[in-house]
Protein backbone atom coordinates (compact mmCIF):
# COMPACT_ATOMS: atom_id res chain seq x y z
CA UNK A 1 0.00 0.00 0.00
CA UNK A 2 1.35 3.42 -0.86
CA UNK A 3 0.37 6.41 1.21
CA UNK A 4 0.18 9.74 -0.48
CA UNK A 5 2.11 12.46 1.14
CA UNK A 6 -0.31 14.60 3.12
CA UNK A 7 -0.49 18.16 1.86
CA UNK A 8 -0.33 19.60 5.36
CA UNK A 9 3.12 18.15 5.88
CA UNK A 10 5.46 20.65 7.52
CA UNK A 11 7.33 22.62 4.90
CA UNK A 12 10.72 21.30 5.92
CA UNK A 13 11.94 18.78 8.48
CA UNK A 14 13.90 21.53 10.18
CA UNK A 15 10.90 23.33 11.65
CA UNK A 16 9.30 20.10 12.78
CA UNK A 17 10.91 20.17 16.19
CA UNK A 18 10.35 23.87 16.56
CA UNK A 19 6.64 23.65 15.79
CA UNK A 20 4.53 23.78 18.90
CA UNK A 21 2.19 20.89 18.59
CA UNK A 22 -1.26 20.48 20.13
CA UNK A 23 -1.80 18.50 23.27
CA UNK A 24 -3.16 15.04 22.54
CA UNK A 25 -5.77 13.60 24.86
CA UNK A 26 -7.23 10.13 24.44
CA UNK A 27 -10.85 9.68 25.51
CA UNK A 28 -11.49 6.11 26.53
CA UNK A 29 -13.83 4.14 28.78
CA UNK A 30 -13.45 0.39 28.88
CA UNK A 31 -17.16 -0.32 28.58
CA UNK A 32 -19.00 0.90 25.52
CA UNK A 33 -22.13 2.99 25.60
CA UNK A 34 -21.11 5.25 28.50
CA UNK A 35 -21.14 8.40 26.39
CA UNK A 36 -17.52 8.46 25.29
CA UNK A 37 -18.09 9.82 21.80
CA UNK A 38 -20.79 12.17 23.09
CA UNK A 39 -18.30 13.47 25.66
CA UNK A 40 -15.47 13.87 23.14
CA UNK A 41 -17.66 15.83 20.72
CA UNK A 42 -19.22 18.14 23.29
CA UNK A 43 -15.97 18.66 25.15
CA UNK A 44 -14.41 19.64 21.82
CA UNK A 45 -17.20 22.18 21.32
CA UNK A 46 -16.70 23.56 24.84
CA UNK A 47 -12.93 23.86 24.36
CA UNK A 48 -13.49 25.56 21.00
CA UNK A 49 -15.71 28.16 22.66
CA UNK A 50 -12.94 28.86 25.12
CA UNK A 51 -10.64 29.65 22.23
CA UNK A 52 -8.83 26.42 21.45
CA UNK A 53 -8.35 25.00 17.97
CA UNK A 54 -9.57 21.46 18.48
CA UNK A 55 -9.45 18.35 16.33
CA UNK A 56 -11.36 15.21 17.22
CA UNK A 57 -9.75 12.15 15.68
CA UNK A 58 -12.08 9.24 15.54
CA UNK A 59 -9.77 6.47 16.65
CA UNK A 60 -12.67 4.07 17.15
CA UNK A 61 -11.27 2.24 14.20
CA UNK A 62 -13.60 -0.66 13.97
CA UNK A 63 -16.83 0.96 15.09
CA UNK A 64 -16.72 4.56 14.00
CA UNK A 65 -19.74 6.55 15.05
CA UNK A 66 -18.49 10.08 15.55
CA UNK A 67 -19.92 10.81 12.12
CA UNK A 68 -23.29 9.59 13.35
CA UNK A 69 -23.17 11.67 16.52
CA UNK A 70 -22.29 14.80 14.56
CA UNK A 71 -24.43 14.04 11.52
CA UNK A 72 -21.40 14.54 9.30
CA UNK A 73 -21.46 14.51 5.53
CA UNK A 74 -19.46 13.90 3.43
CA UNK A 75 -17.78 11.09 5.29
CA UNK A 76 -14.29 11.38 3.90
CA UNK A 77 -11.97 9.32 6.05
CA UNK A 78 -8.33 8.56 6.68
CA UNK A 79 -8.92 5.38 4.78
CA UNK A 80 -9.56 7.54 1.70
CA UNK A 81 -6.30 9.40 2.40
CA UNK A 82 -4.31 6.19 2.60
CA UNK A 83 -5.90 4.81 -0.54
CA UNK A 84 -5.16 8.03 -2.40
CA UNK A 85 -8.77 9.15 -2.87
CA UNK A 86 -8.21 12.50 -1.16
CA UNK A 87 -5.59 14.54 0.67
CA UNK A 88 -5.25 14.70 4.43
CA UNK A 89 -6.40 18.32 4.29
CA UNK A 90 -9.60 17.31 2.54
CA UNK A 91 -10.26 14.63 5.13
CA UNK A 92 -10.25 17.13 8.00
CA UNK A 93 -13.93 17.98 8.19
CA UNK A 94 -15.53 21.00 9.84
CA UNK A 95 -17.88 19.91 12.64
CA UNK A 96 -20.96 21.77 13.90
CA UNK A 97 -19.32 23.03 17.11
CA UNK A 98 -16.59 24.90 15.24
CA UNK A 99 -13.97 22.24 15.76
CA UNK A 100 -12.49 19.84 13.20
CA UNK A 101 -13.00 16.15 12.79
CA UNK A 102 -10.85 13.47 11.24
CA UNK A 103 -12.64 10.17 10.73
CA UNK A 104 -10.53 7.04 10.64
CA UNK A 105 -13.00 5.06 8.59
CA UNK A 106 -13.83 1.49 9.40
CA UNK A 107 -11.79 0.21 6.45
CA UNK A 108 -8.59 1.44 8.01
CA UNK A 109 -7.96 -1.29 10.49
CA UNK A 110 -9.52 -4.16 8.72
CA UNK A 111 -11.41 -6.17 11.29
CA UNK A 112 -9.64 -4.33 14.08
CA UNK A 113 -6.36 -6.00 13.33
CA UNK A 114 -3.64 -3.48 13.92
CA UNK A 115 -0.77 -3.98 11.54
CA UNK A 116 2.59 -2.24 11.95
CA UNK A 117 1.80 -0.44 8.72
CA UNK A 118 -1.38 1.10 10.12
CA UNK A 119 0.44 2.09 13.30
CA UNK A 120 3.05 3.83 11.22
CA UNK A 121 0.46 5.64 9.12
CA UNK A 122 -1.56 6.81 12.12
CA UNK A 123 1.55 8.03 13.86
CA UNK A 124 2.51 10.01 10.78
CA UNK A 125 -0.95 11.53 10.49
CA UNK A 126 -0.95 12.69 14.09
CA UNK A 127 2.53 14.16 13.76
CA UNK A 128 1.37 15.99 10.67
CA UNK A 129 -1.83 17.47 12.03
CA UNK A 130 -0.71 18.16 15.60
CA UNK A 131 1.08 21.48 14.89
CA UNK A 132 -2.12 22.91 13.40
CA UNK A 133 -4.24 22.48 16.52
CA UNK A 134 -4.09 23.37 20.21
CA UNK A 135 -5.70 20.12 21.25
CA UNK A 136 -6.42 16.78 19.66
CA UNK A 137 -8.98 14.48 21.20
CA UNK A 138 -8.66 10.81 20.26
CA UNK A 139 -12.04 9.16 20.53
CA UNK A 140 -11.07 5.54 21.08
CA UNK A 141 -13.15 2.42 20.75
CA UNK A 142 -14.72 0.56 23.62
CA UNK A 143 -12.79 -2.12 25.41
CA UNK A 144 -9.08 -2.62 25.96
CA UNK A 145 -8.10 -4.02 22.59
CA UNK A 146 -4.72 -3.49 20.99
CA UNK A 147 -6.26 -0.81 18.79
CA UNK A 148 -7.50 1.14 21.79
CA UNK A 149 -4.24 0.74 23.67
CA UNK A 150 -2.29 1.88 20.66
CA UNK A 151 -4.48 4.97 20.22
CA UNK A 152 -4.06 5.80 23.90
CA UNK A 153 -0.31 5.31 23.68
CA UNK A 154 -0.16 8.18 21.18
CA UNK A 155 -1.70 10.61 23.66
CA UNK A 156 -0.09 12.97 26.16
CA UNK A 157 -2.91 12.40 28.59
CA UNK A 158 -5.85 10.09 29.06
CA UNK A 159 -9.42 10.87 29.94
CA UNK A 160 -11.45 7.92 31.20
CA UNK A 161 -15.22 8.28 30.95
CA UNK A 162 -17.20 6.11 33.35
CA UNK A 163 -20.75 5.93 34.63
CA UNK A 164 -21.76 4.87 38.16
CA UNK A 165 -22.99 1.57 36.73
CA UNK A 166 -20.96 -1.38 38.17
CA UNK A 167 -19.92 -2.83 34.80
CA UNK A 168 -18.72 0.58 33.67
CA UNK A 169 -16.76 1.11 36.89
CA UNK A 170 -15.17 -2.33 36.63
CA UNK A 171 -14.14 -1.72 33.03
CA UNK A 172 -12.90 1.78 33.84
CA UNK A 173 -10.79 0.30 36.63
CA UNK A 174 -9.45 -2.41 34.32
CA UNK A 175 -8.52 0.26 31.78
CA UNK A 176 -6.74 2.35 34.40
CA UNK A 177 -4.88 -0.75 35.59
CA UNK A 178 -3.68 -1.62 32.10
CA UNK A 179 -2.67 1.96 31.31
CA UNK A 180 -0.79 2.31 34.59
CA UNK A 181 1.06 -0.98 34.29
CA UNK A 182 1.61 -1.22 30.53
CA UNK A 183 1.94 2.42 29.53
CA UNK A 184 3.41 3.85 32.72
CA UNK A 185 0.58 6.32 33.10
CA UNK A 186 0.84 8.04 36.47
CA UNK A 187 -1.98 10.56 36.08
CA UNK A 188 -5.37 9.73 34.62
CA UNK A 189 -8.22 12.17 34.13
CA UNK A 190 -11.70 11.01 35.01
CA UNK A 191 -15.15 12.23 34.05
CA UNK A 192 -18.12 10.48 35.63
CA UNK A 193 -21.06 10.61 33.29
CA UNK A 194 -24.74 10.06 34.05
CA UNK A 195 -24.52 10.72 37.79
CA UNK A 196 -27.84 10.84 39.58
CA UNK A 197 -26.69 12.85 42.60
CA UNK A 198 -24.30 15.73 43.04
CA UNK A 199 -21.08 14.45 44.55
CA UNK A 200 -21.42 10.95 43.11
CA UNK A 201 -18.46 11.59 40.82
CA UNK A 202 -16.25 12.49 43.76
CA UNK A 203 -17.26 9.33 45.63
CA UNK A 204 -16.60 7.19 42.57
CA UNK A 205 -13.17 8.75 42.07
CA UNK A 206 -12.47 7.92 45.72
CA UNK A 207 -13.55 4.31 45.27
CA UNK A 208 -11.43 3.90 42.15
CA UNK A 209 -8.43 5.60 43.75
CA UNK A 210 -8.69 3.32 46.77
CA UNK A 211 -8.60 0.16 44.65
CA UNK A 212 -5.81 1.60 42.47
CA UNK A 213 -3.69 2.37 45.57
CA UNK A 214 -4.21 -1.09 46.98
CA UNK A 215 -3.93 -3.26 43.86
CA UNK A 216 -2.30 -1.31 41.03
CA UNK A 217 0.46 0.65 42.74
CA UNK A 218 2.16 -2.50 44.14
CA UNK A 219 2.40 -3.85 40.56
CA UNK A 220 4.56 -0.93 39.51
CA UNK A 221 8.23 -1.06 40.35
CA UNK A 222 10.32 1.91 41.37
CA UNK A 223 9.84 4.75 43.80
CA UNK A 224 7.60 6.83 41.54
CA UNK A 225 4.74 4.40 41.43
CA UNK A 226 1.73 6.37 42.63
CA UNK A 227 -1.11 6.51 40.12
CA UNK A 228 -3.30 9.54 40.56
CA UNK A 229 -6.87 9.83 39.37
CA UNK A 230 -7.97 13.39 38.80
CA UNK A 231 -11.69 14.09 38.67
CA UNK A 232 -12.28 16.58 35.87
CA UNK A 233 -15.96 16.64 36.60
CA UNK A 234 -19.26 14.86 36.78
CA UNK A 235 -22.06 15.15 34.25
CA UNK A 236 -25.58 14.59 35.52
CA UNK A 237 -28.07 12.23 33.98
CA UNK A 238 -30.09 14.59 31.84
CA UNK A 239 -32.94 14.05 29.39
CA UNK A 240 -31.44 16.87 27.32
CA UNK A 241 -28.60 14.50 26.41
CA UNK A 242 -30.97 11.95 24.98
CA UNK A 243 -32.73 14.65 23.04
CA UNK A 244 -29.45 15.89 21.53
CA UNK A 245 -28.25 12.39 20.71
CA UNK A 246 -31.53 11.46 19.07
CA UNK A 247 -31.52 14.61 16.98
CA UNK A 248 -27.84 14.06 16.18
CA UNK A 249 -26.93 17.49 17.45
CA UNK A 250 -24.32 18.76 19.86
CA UNK A 251 -25.80 19.20 23.32
CA UNK A 252 -23.87 22.44 23.67
CA UNK A 253 -25.62 23.84 20.62
CA UNK A 254 -29.08 22.38 21.02
CA UNK A 255 -29.58 22.81 24.77
CA UNK A 256 -26.69 24.91 26.11
CA UNK A 257 -28.59 25.75 29.28
CA UNK A 258 -29.13 22.12 30.30
CA UNK A 259 -27.38 20.85 33.44
CA UNK A 260 -25.34 18.33 31.41
CA UNK A 261 -24.16 21.01 28.96
CA UNK A 262 -23.10 23.28 31.83
CA UNK A 263 -21.24 20.38 33.44
CA UNK A 264 -19.32 19.71 30.22
CA UNK A 265 -18.37 23.38 29.96
CA UNK A 266 -17.08 23.12 33.53
CA UNK A 267 -14.99 20.08 32.55
CA UNK A 268 -13.45 22.09 29.70
CA UNK A 269 -12.71 25.00 32.03
CA UNK A 270 -11.00 22.70 34.52
CA UNK A 271 -9.01 21.09 31.73
CA UNK A 272 -7.74 24.49 30.58
CA UNK A 273 -6.97 25.74 34.09
Amino acid sequence: MTSRRPSTDPASPADKSAAKRGRIMAVTSGKGGVGKTFMAANLAAALTRQGERVLVLDADLGLANLDVVLNLFPKVTLHDVFTGKCTLEEAILPAPGGFSVLLAGSGLVEYSRLTPEVREQLLKVIETVAPHFDRILLDTGAGISDVVLFAVSLADEVLVVATPEPTSLTDAYATIKVLATQQQRRAIQLVVNQVSRTGEGRVIRGQLQQVVDRYVTPLIEGPDNAVKLNLLGEVPSDLAVREAVQRRRLLLELLPGSPAAKAIVAVATKLLA
Binding site: G143, S145, K177, V178, Q207, R214
Partner: protein
Protein backbone atom coordinates in the same frame (compact mmCIF):
# COMPACT_ATOMS: atom_id res chain seq x y z
CA UNK B 1 -50.77 -37.90 4.27
CA UNK B 2 -51.76 -34.28 3.86
CA UNK B 3 -53.31 -33.22 0.61
CA UNK B 4 -50.67 -32.00 -1.74
CA UNK B 5 -51.09 -28.34 -2.63
CA UNK B 6 -52.14 -27.89 -6.24
CA UNK B 7 -50.09 -25.18 -7.88
CA UNK B 8 -52.75 -24.79 -10.60
CA UNK B 9 -55.20 -23.43 -8.04
CA UNK B 10 -52.96 -20.56 -7.04
CA UNK B 11 -54.44 -17.08 -7.16
CA UNK B 12 -51.05 -15.79 -8.20
CA UNK B 13 -50.94 -17.24 -11.70
CA UNK B 14 -47.79 -15.33 -12.65
CA UNK B 15 -45.75 -17.30 -10.13
CA UNK B 16 -44.23 -20.57 -11.26
CA UNK B 17 -44.12 -22.59 -8.08
CA UNK B 18 -43.78 -26.15 -9.38
CA UNK B 19 -40.06 -26.40 -8.74
CA UNK B 20 -40.42 -24.82 -5.29
CA UNK B 21 -43.23 -27.16 -4.26
CA UNK B 22 -41.30 -30.12 -5.59
CA UNK B 23 -38.29 -29.13 -3.52
CA UNK B 24 -40.41 -28.74 -0.41
CA UNK B 25 -42.02 -32.12 -0.93
CA UNK B 26 -38.73 -33.83 -1.63
CA UNK B 27 -37.25 -32.45 1.58
CA UNK B 28 -40.25 -33.65 3.55
CA UNK B 29 -41.51 -30.17 4.31
CA UNK B 30 -45.27 -30.25 4.88
CA UNK B 31 -47.19 -27.05 4.25
CA UNK B 32 -49.83 -26.24 6.89
CA UNK B 33 -53.20 -27.62 5.89
CA UNK B 34 -55.10 -24.68 7.29
CA UNK B 35 -53.60 -22.27 4.80
CA UNK B 36 -55.68 -22.10 1.63
CA UNK B 37 -53.71 -22.86 -1.50
CA UNK B 38 -52.78 -19.74 -3.42
CA UNK B 39 -53.70 -17.31 -0.63
CA UNK B 40 -51.11 -15.07 0.97
CA UNK B 41 -50.78 -17.23 4.08
CA UNK B 42 -50.09 -20.22 1.87
CA UNK B 43 -47.51 -18.33 -0.19
CA UNK B 44 -45.86 -17.17 3.02
CA UNK B 45 -45.70 -20.81 4.13
CA UNK B 46 -44.06 -21.72 0.81
CA UNK B 47 -41.48 -18.94 1.21
CA UNK B 48 -40.86 -19.91 4.84
CA UNK B 49 -40.43 -23.50 3.76
CA UNK B 50 -37.92 -22.54 1.10
CA UNK B 51 -35.97 -20.40 3.58
CA UNK B 52 -35.99 -23.29 6.00
CA UNK B 53 -34.62 -25.84 3.56
CA UNK B 54 -32.08 -23.42 2.10
CA UNK B 55 -30.63 -22.85 5.56
CA UNK B 56 -30.31 -26.53 6.44
CA UNK B 57 -27.79 -29.15 5.47
CA UNK B 58 -29.65 -31.75 3.41
CA UNK B 59 -27.90 -34.76 4.90
CA UNK B 60 -27.71 -33.94 8.60
CA UNK B 61 -30.50 -31.40 9.04
CA UNK B 62 -28.13 -29.07 10.88
CA UNK B 63 -27.69 -25.44 9.86
CA UNK B 64 -25.72 -25.25 6.64
CA UNK B 65 -22.67 -23.13 5.88
CA UNK B 66 -24.82 -20.21 4.66
CA UNK B 67 -26.94 -20.14 7.81
CA UNK B 68 -23.83 -20.50 9.96
CA UNK B 69 -22.18 -17.47 8.37
CA UNK B 70 -25.33 -15.44 8.87
CA UNK B 71 -25.50 -16.41 12.54
CA UNK B 72 -21.79 -15.69 12.96
CA UNK B 73 -22.12 -12.20 11.49
CA UNK B 74 -24.99 -11.48 13.86
CA UNK B 75 -22.97 -12.72 16.80
CA UNK B 76 -20.01 -10.53 15.85
CA UNK B 77 -22.28 -7.48 15.90
CA UNK B 78 -23.60 -8.43 19.29
CA UNK B 79 -20.18 -9.02 20.82
CA UNK B 80 -18.84 -5.74 19.45
CA UNK B 81 -21.70 -3.75 20.87
CA UNK B 82 -22.65 -5.60 24.04
CA UNK B 83 -19.25 -7.04 24.93
CA UNK B 84 -20.65 -10.45 25.82
CA UNK B 85 -18.21 -13.31 25.44
CA UNK B 86 -18.93 -15.79 22.65
CA UNK B 87 -17.21 -18.99 21.60
CA UNK B 88 -16.86 -20.63 18.22
CA UNK B 89 -15.94 -24.31 18.02
CA UNK B 90 -14.71 -26.02 14.88
CA UNK B 91 -15.28 -29.77 15.10
CA UNK B 92 -13.72 -32.30 12.77
CA UNK B 93 -14.30 -36.06 12.72
CA UNK B 94 -11.03 -37.94 13.25
CA UNK B 95 -9.92 -40.32 10.47
CA UNK B 96 -13.20 -39.96 8.61
CA UNK B 97 -11.59 -40.99 5.35
CA UNK B 98 -10.91 -44.38 6.89
CA UNK B 99 -14.64 -44.85 7.57
CA UNK B 100 -15.44 -44.10 3.95
CA UNK B 101 -12.64 -46.28 2.62
CA UNK B 102 -13.44 -49.22 4.87
CA UNK B 103 -17.23 -49.21 4.96
CA UNK B 104 -18.21 -47.15 1.93
CA UNK B 105 -19.78 -43.75 1.49
CA UNK B 106 -23.31 -44.71 2.64
CA UNK B 107 -21.76 -45.73 5.97
CA UNK B 108 -19.87 -42.44 6.01
CA UNK B 109 -23.17 -40.61 5.62
CA UNK B 110 -24.64 -42.50 8.56
CA UNK B 111 -21.65 -41.56 10.69
CA UNK B 112 -22.06 -37.91 9.71
CA UNK B 113 -25.71 -38.08 10.74
CA UNK B 114 -24.89 -39.73 14.05
CA UNK B 115 -22.25 -37.11 14.88
CA UNK B 116 -24.69 -34.36 13.88
CA UNK B 117 -27.28 -35.77 16.27
CA UNK B 118 -24.75 -35.96 19.09
CA UNK B 119 -23.71 -32.36 18.49
CA UNK B 120 -27.30 -31.23 18.34
CA UNK B 121 -27.93 -32.85 21.71
CA UNK B 122 -25.16 -30.72 23.26
CA UNK B 123 -26.48 -27.28 22.49
CA UNK B 124 -28.66 -24.72 24.21
CA UNK B 125 -31.56 -23.16 22.29
CA UNK B 126 -29.58 -20.02 21.48
CA UNK B 127 -26.59 -21.92 20.12
CA UNK B 128 -26.02 -22.70 16.46
CA UNK B 129 -24.56 -25.98 15.26
CA UNK B 130 -23.80 -26.31 11.59
CA UNK B 131 -22.27 -28.65 9.09
CA UNK B 132 -19.40 -26.52 7.91
CA UNK B 133 -18.39 -28.79 5.06
CA UNK B 134 -17.35 -32.40 4.52
CA UNK B 135 -16.73 -33.95 7.93
CA UNK B 136 -16.30 -30.59 9.62
CA UNK B 137 -18.90 -29.06 11.91
CA UNK B 138 -19.05 -25.71 13.66
CA UNK B 139 -20.78 -24.30 16.73
CA UNK B 140 -21.54 -20.78 17.84
CA UNK B 141 -22.07 -20.42 21.58
CA UNK B 142 -23.24 -16.92 22.47
CA UNK B 143 -22.74 -15.65 26.00
CA UNK B 144 -20.24 -18.36 26.91
CA UNK B 145 -17.81 -17.10 29.58
CA UNK B 146 -14.15 -17.98 28.94
CA UNK B 147 -13.99 -19.91 32.19
CA UNK B 148 -16.59 -22.39 30.86
CA UNK B 149 -15.15 -22.79 27.38
CA UNK B 150 -12.92 -25.80 27.95
CA UNK B 151 -15.63 -27.61 29.86
CA UNK B 152 -18.19 -27.01 27.12
CA UNK B 153 -15.82 -28.20 24.38
CA UNK B 154 -14.86 -31.25 26.40
CA UNK B 155 -18.52 -32.15 26.90
CA UNK B 156 -19.07 -32.01 23.14
CA UNK B 157 -16.05 -34.19 22.51
CA UNK B 158 -17.15 -36.77 25.10
CA UNK B 159 -20.70 -36.83 23.76
CA UNK B 160 -19.51 -37.80 20.28
CA UNK B 161 -17.13 -40.43 21.64
CA UNK B 162 -19.94 -41.97 23.65
CA UNK B 163 -22.17 -42.46 20.62
CA UNK B 164 -21.93 -44.93 17.79
CA UNK B 165 -23.51 -45.12 14.36
CA UNK B 166 -25.29 -48.22 13.15
CA UNK B 167 -24.02 -48.63 9.61
CA UNK B 168 -25.53 -52.06 8.96
CA UNK B 169 -27.65 -54.45 11.03
CA UNK B 170 -25.47 -55.39 13.95
CA UNK B 171 -22.58 -53.29 12.74
CA UNK B 172 -21.68 -50.19 14.69
CA UNK B 173 -18.97 -47.66 14.11
CA UNK B 174 -17.86 -45.13 16.65
CA UNK B 175 -15.77 -42.09 15.88
CA UNK B 176 -14.08 -39.31 17.77
CA UNK B 177 -13.75 -35.63 17.02
CA UNK B 178 -11.06 -33.02 17.40
CA UNK B 179 -12.23 -29.59 18.48
CA UNK B 180 -10.68 -26.15 18.16
CA UNK B 181 -12.21 -23.11 19.78
CA UNK B 182 -11.74 -19.37 19.92
CA UNK B 183 -13.53 -16.57 21.75
CA UNK B 184 -14.61 -13.42 19.97
CA UNK B 185 -12.53 -10.52 21.21
CA UNK B 186 -14.85 -8.53 23.46
CA UNK B 187 -15.90 -5.07 22.27
CA UNK B 188 -13.98 -5.52 19.07
CA UNK B 189 -15.51 -5.99 15.65
CA UNK B 190 -13.92 -9.15 14.39
CA UNK B 191 -14.72 -10.75 11.08
CA UNK B 192 -16.21 -14.12 10.34
CA UNK B 193 -13.13 -15.39 8.44
CA UNK B 194 -10.77 -14.19 11.18
CA UNK B 195 -12.76 -15.76 13.98
CA UNK B 196 -13.06 -19.07 12.13
CA UNK B 197 -9.36 -18.96 11.30
CA UNK B 198 -8.46 -18.61 14.98
CA UNK B 199 -10.67 -21.56 15.90
CA UNK B 200 -9.20 -23.51 12.98
CA UNK B 201 -5.68 -22.94 14.30
CA UNK B 202 -6.76 -24.55 17.56
CA UNK B 203 -8.36 -27.41 15.64
CA UNK B 204 -5.05 -27.92 13.89
CA UNK B 205 -3.36 -27.99 17.29
CA UNK B 206 -5.88 -30.57 18.56
CA UNK B 207 -5.18 -32.74 15.52
CA UNK B 208 -1.42 -32.50 15.82
CA UNK B 209 -1.51 -33.23 19.55
CA UNK B 210 -3.08 -36.61 18.83
CA UNK B 211 -6.77 -36.00 17.96
CA UNK B 212 -9.85 -36.77 20.08
CA UNK B 213 -9.29 -33.64 22.15
CA UNK B 214 -10.41 -30.06 22.48
CA UNK B 215 -8.00 -27.14 22.28
CA UNK B 216 -9.12 -23.60 22.99
CA UNK B 217 -7.31 -20.37 22.35
CA UNK B 218 -6.24 -19.01 25.71
CA UNK B 219 -8.68 -16.23 26.53
CA UNK B 220 -7.21 -13.12 28.06
CA UNK B 221 -7.41 -13.49 31.80
CA UNK B 222 -9.84 -11.27 33.60
CA UNK B 223 -8.08 -8.09 34.57
CA UNK B 224 -10.10 -7.48 37.68
CA UNK B 225 -10.05 -10.00 40.52
CA UNK B 226 -12.91 -10.67 42.90
CA UNK B 227 -11.07 -8.86 45.73
CA UNK B 228 -10.60 -5.79 43.59
CA UNK B 229 -14.28 -5.84 42.71
CA UNK B 230 -15.32 -6.21 46.31
CA UNK B 231 -13.19 -3.25 47.30
CA UNK B 232 -14.61 -1.28 44.39
CA UNK B 233 -18.21 -1.94 45.37
CA UNK B 234 -18.07 -3.39 48.84
CA UNK B 235 -17.58 -0.37 51.05
CA UNK B 236 -20.53 1.74 51.88
CA UNK B 237 -19.23 5.07 50.63
CA UNK B 238 -21.78 5.16 47.84
CA UNK B 239 -24.54 4.85 50.38
CA UNK B 240 -23.22 7.85 52.29
CA UNK B 241 -24.95 10.03 49.80
CA UNK B 242 -28.37 8.52 50.41
Amino acid sequence: MSARPQPTKTSAPSLRLDAALQLLEQSGHVLPELAEVGKQAWLQAVVDGLCEISSRDALTGLANRRQFELALAREIDRVARAGEPALVLMIDIDHFKKVNDTHGHPAGDLVLKAVARALHDCIRPMDTVARFGGEEFAMILPNCPPSFGQQVAERVRAKVQGRSATIAPGQEVSVTVSIGGAFAPQWVRSSAPLWIERADQQLYRAKSEGRNRACLEQPTVSLVSAEEKSLLFGTSQLQDLE
